[in-house]
């Protein structure tokens, strides 16, 4: 017999641990986001390191920035309310991410072995599944463009560009959706063609009227 049956006591849970955890997670993700702005991807890093080592100069970092898809999405949202040129809007719509690494060295007359630079970069990138699309050397400037061996979708195409000259080394890597860019290119091309055809018609028309003995000067 239990004359005074008492209800089981449920311990009150404190909300503080959850709040602290949430705060930590928020701050952690904020810190990670901030750090990710300053850290380039492994492919870009590999190309950069290879070129820095091959040139064996005392390069000093000027800037390294990594702008991801979140930032570009944010920019797209913001620019939706701003009047900007259509081409700029298209470019922004196409951009998915961009990384830039700029290094500089004190002015001097260093001559880099371009053949060694190109072959070294080719080797490093080939190991990571990239191939060289363009390699151009002019004087003491080198420009190389790499693309992945396998491009699965035109909506997410990556490319990596490296520019080396006497005083500067720049590595740019970008991810882009080629569809809007291609649409823009075709549109511009069609406009230019239509314009040329109009010009030709105009020119032949004026020629004909000249032949007919009429004055055909543009007003």
């Amino acid at each position: 017999m239990n004359p005074n049956p008492s209800k089981p006591v449920i311990p009150r849970r404190s909300k503080w641990p959850w709040l602290v955890l949430g705060m930590f997670l928020f701050l952690g993700s904020l810190a990670y986001g901030a750090l990710s702005f300053l850290r380039v991807s492994s492919d870009t890093r590999a190309l950069r390191d290879c070129l820095l080592q091959a040139t064996a100069s005392n390069w000093s970092k000027t800037i390294e920035v990594n702008v991801g898809s979140f930032t570009f999405s944010l920019a797209r949202v913001v620019t939706a309310f701003i009047d900007i040129p259509a081409e700029a809007r298209t470019a922004l719509r196409a951009a998915r991410g961009a990384e830039v690494a700029v290094y500089q060295r004190p002015p001097g007359k260093a001559c880099f072995d371009m053949a060694a630079l190109v072959s070294g970069a080719d080797e490093v990138m080939a190991d990571r599944g990239w191939e060289r699309l363009v390699g151009a050397v002019s004087g003491h400037q080198l420009v190389t463009v790499y693309v992945p061996n396998k491009i699965r979708s035109p909506r997410n195409v990556r490319f990596c560009v490296a520019v080396v000259e006497r005083g500067q080394l720049v590595v740019v890597s970008a991810r882009s959706n080629l569809e809007p860019l291609m649409d823009l290119a075709i549109q511009k091309c069609s406009e230019a063609t239509a314009l040329t055809k109009c010009d030709e018609k105009g020119a032949s028309g004026s020629l004909r009227s000249h032949r007919n003995g009429r004055l055909a000067l543009p007003l």
Partner: protein, 217 residues
């Protein structure tokens, strides 16, 4: 191990059964040796074929110019290599807006361009290689459609055609005086009428002419 066992068996004089077993083991050993040798042979052959495969996979219009390197002293050098992967991507992109262009682009398999600045270090080597490419193409029955030499420029255009149906390969070699050498190879399955259509569509006079010329052939 088997040889060692056999020798040990003989020494111990185990009798007929042991010698028969040894015979079998020797036969199987010889078989294994042959098998290993043949396997290695086949593997080596496969490896050699794999090395040569890229050249053959590019199609009959592919020409291997060899490897050119940028001059160490810093001259002019351009190399462009657009493979089928990228070309099909462009074709896919152009499919909606410009199906005719997409069709032409889809027919391409490779575009390779080499521009090599000539200087005292590489001039003789590069010129020799260009002449060798021309000689090879003539030997392999490529059709020389353009041969022009004017004011220091030496231009040759070769075509590999599949009957009247299509152009499988195009090679352009240019020696621009003592300044630069240019080598271009376009590989694909290009229909003359498509070239003409593109020329008309974008009002590109040289393409119109090429299309007409190819159509007449």
């Amino acid at each position: 191990v088997q040889l060692h066992d056999r020798a040990a068996g003989n020494r111990n004089g185990r009798g007929r059964k042991t010698s028969e077993a040894n015979k079998i083991s020797i036969t199987s050993m010889t078989f294994m040796k042959h098998l290993i040798r043949n396997t290695f042979g086949v593997a080596a052959l496969a490896a050699m074929m794999a090395v040569n495969a890229p050249a053959q996979n590019q199609g009959p219009g592919f020409v291997d110019f060899g490897k050119f390197s940028p001059p160490s002293s810093g001259g002019e050098f351009v190399e462009v290599h657009i493979n089928g992967n990228l070309i099909s991507l462009v074709a896919r992109l152009a499919d909606k807006a410009e199906p005719e262009i997409a069709k032409l682009v889809r027919g391409l398999k490779l575009i390779h361009v080499n521009v090599i600045g000539l200087n005292d270090d590489n001039r003789s080597d590069v010129l020799k290689r260009v002449q060798a490419v021309r000689a090879d193409l003539s030997e392999q029955h490529w059709e020389g459609v353009v041969t022009a030499q004017q004011s220091g420029q030496d231009v040759n255009v070769f075509l590999k055609t599949r009957g009247d149906e299509a152009v499988e390969g195009l090679v352009v070699t240019v020696i621009d005086g003592n300044h630069q050498a240019i080598l271009v190879n376009v590989v694909g399955d290009i229909k003359p009428e498509q070239v003409a259509i593109i020329g008309e569509r974008f009002n590109i006079e040289p393409l119109k002419k090429v299309g007409q010329a190819l159509g007449k052939k």
